[in-house]
């Protein structure tokens, strides 16, 4: 009986993995392949307007794999962008891009399983630790691997790059203005950010990426990034898994985009403190406190703010040393 259950579970996981890329490939086949190359060519051919954008700098926040749609991200993440908006009032802090869909189509929007996702969303609102809520994480984690895949990634990344570009333009960004854009990617959002940079970099935008506990591959998009700051927790098993799972980030991976970026001094890896990925004492935990009195959420916000403004990052000192 147990063997059959395991076989069924294995089959379900396999099918979920195999069907994972179909959304972005299907979108590319249906319309993306027609619309995007032309739109990209038009944008590339358009002369710079010479106008200054209304904001000093632009930041786009890409949520972790718990996000359901552009407006429904886990509530614990909201204070990060809210606080950044307070501290940087002349900057645009956007969080309207759903990173796990090529066309910003949230899980509860027009989809085959929208009903299921709406139910999961309701359950998760009642109980954030609901086991069914993990379905969202599993679905989005598969999209992370689609994004990181060299075969499926191009179609996925061009879609998310377009949605990020749309978000920037909705907020008045002017191509050719040279105004810097920073993508903040939490967890799987870091991979989506780096992947999208491969295409965003075509438009002469100064790009930076801040990864918070990010799981990301040695994506070719790294070649288009001016600087990547990877903020990690020393007790974060998923972040650590990223170093193991993605071979291009192994120490001997000569010639990988990651190794190249490191060799060129375009990568900073900063250990914030003993943060975990989920559960308790995670990056957004307002109940866990550092010895200096700040809670972990504040530590994360301070660190991201410091990276954005070019100040030194204040980390939690390791008492065991």
């Amino acid at each position: 009986m147990i063997v059959y259950l395991l076989l069924i579970l294995g089959l379900v996981i396999f099918l979920a993995l195999v069907f994972g890329p179909l959304e972005s490939l299907g979108w590319w086949r249906a319309k993306g392949g027609d619309e995007l190359p032309e739109a990209a060519r038009q944008l590339l051919a358009r002369p710079a307007s010479g106008e200054k954008p209304p904001y000093e700098q632009y930041v786009v926040y890409l949520s972790g794999i718990g996000a359901i749609d552009p407006t429904s991200i886990p509530p614990e993440e909201l204070p990060l962008t809210d606080e950044l908006r307070k501290r940087l009032p002349t900057w645009c802090i956007a969080r309207d891009v759903f990173p796990y869909s090529v066309d910003n189509n949230g899980l509860t929007a027009q989809r085959l399983f929208a009903g299921l996702w709406r139910r999961v969303e309701k359950l998760r609102l009642k109980n954030p630790e609901s086991a069914l809520g993990m379905l969202v994480n599993a679905r989005n984690a598969i999209q992370l691997f689609v994004c990181a895949d060299r075969r499926y990634g191009p179609t996925y990344n061009i879609g998310t790059a377009r949605e990020i570009m749309r978000s920037l333009q909705r907020n008045g960004y002017q191509l050719g203005s040279g105004v810097p854009v920073t993508l903040i990617g939490w967890s799987g959002g870091a991979q989506i950010a780096i992947g999208a940079c491969g295409y965003l970099g075509m438009f002469d935008i100064p790009l930076r990426v801040i990864s918070l506990g990010g799981m990301f591959a040695d994506d070719p998009g790294m070649d288009r990034i001016e600087h990547l700051t990877h903020l990690r927790g020393s007790n974060d098993p998923l972040e650590r898994l990223g170093w193991i799972l993605f071979a291009g980030r192994w120490p001997g991976a000569v010639g990988s985009p990651w190794s190249r970026a490191k060799a060129e001094g375009r990568v900073d890896v900063i250990t914030l403190g003993p943060m975990q990925h989920n559960g308790k004492e995670h990056y957004f935990d307002a109940e866990a406190f550092a010895p200096d009195g700040r809670n972990y959420l504040q530590v994360s916000i301070d660190a991201i703010h410091a990276v954005l403004t070019g100040e030194p990052v204040e980390v939690i000192e390791d008492r065991q040393e």
Partner: protein, 227 residues
């Protein structure tokens, strides 16, 4: 009816034997009157499984109808040429190492049988991990070929390893020597068949991975200057 059941049983037993690297099984199969058909069936299953992944990408990449069928045919022919070259190399290297003249048909049998791990080729569809799984399957196939060559030439482990190792090295050399002409040929045929530009390399052709789902790259293949 009984004949078909027996044949299916032989294919199943051969598959299991290759997967488990069982030399006894290879000995049994070498004496089976249906050995050639069993090997061909396994190779067809392996090819179909590998094609499954590639063809989904191909279909979704807006290659349809006659072009789709032609692309599959092109890929299938690619497999046949690949295995024929590999069989020839094993026969030549085997002769040079052992002095035994091996029928090219037997060499082809060994190569086709060793494709049994590629029956799991559909796993290549899995995002990110797929290409790694494909490499593992190829390595598994190479080890299977080692076991089969050992039985076929009736030589020890190390001599068989030498034949397979030199054969593998020769395939790499062929790949290096024919890299440019093969890539040009592959791209020309691909363009003819699909009407799309391609990023197929000679290595892709030689490893049986013919398709890359990219219709355009907007210059992304060129590494930009880092600001």
């Amino acid at each position: 009816m009984g004949g078909i059941a027996e044949f299916i049983e032989s294919v199943g037993r051969a598959l299991w034997g290759v997967w488990t690297l069982d030399a006894e099984n290879a000995r049994w199969l070498a004496d089976d009157p249906n050995a050639s058909w069993v090997a061909v069936t396994i190779a067809v299953l392996a090819g179909a499984s590998t094609l499954l992944g590639n063809s989904v990408v191909l279909f979704l990449n807006r290659v349809r109808g006659v072009r789709f069928a032609l692309s599959l045919l092109f890929n299938g022919l690619g497999f046949v040429v690949l295995y024929a070259v590999q069989a020839l190399i094993i026969a030549v290297v085997g002769y040079l190492v052992t002095g035994q003249r091996l029928d090219v048909g037997m060499s082809a049998w060994a190569v086709l049988l060793a494709t049994a791990p590629l029956v799991f080729g559909f796993f290549e569809l899995i995002p990110y991990l797929g290409p790694g799984i494909a490499r593992l399957l190829q390595a598994w196939g190479l080890i299977a070929l080692w076991v089969i060559v050992e039985v076929l030439y009736q030589v020890g482990h190390w001599t068989a390893l030498l034949i397979v190792g030199v054969g593998w090295g020769a395939m790499q050399l062929v790949s290096w020597l024919l890299a440019r002409p093969l890539a040009s040929l592959g791209q020309a045929v691909w363009r003819l068949v699909t009407g799309l530009p391609t990023m197929v390399t000679a290595q892709d052709l030689l490893s049986g991975h013919m398709f890359t789902p990219v219709e355009f790259d907007l210059g992304l293949t060129e590494r930009p200057e880092t600001r």
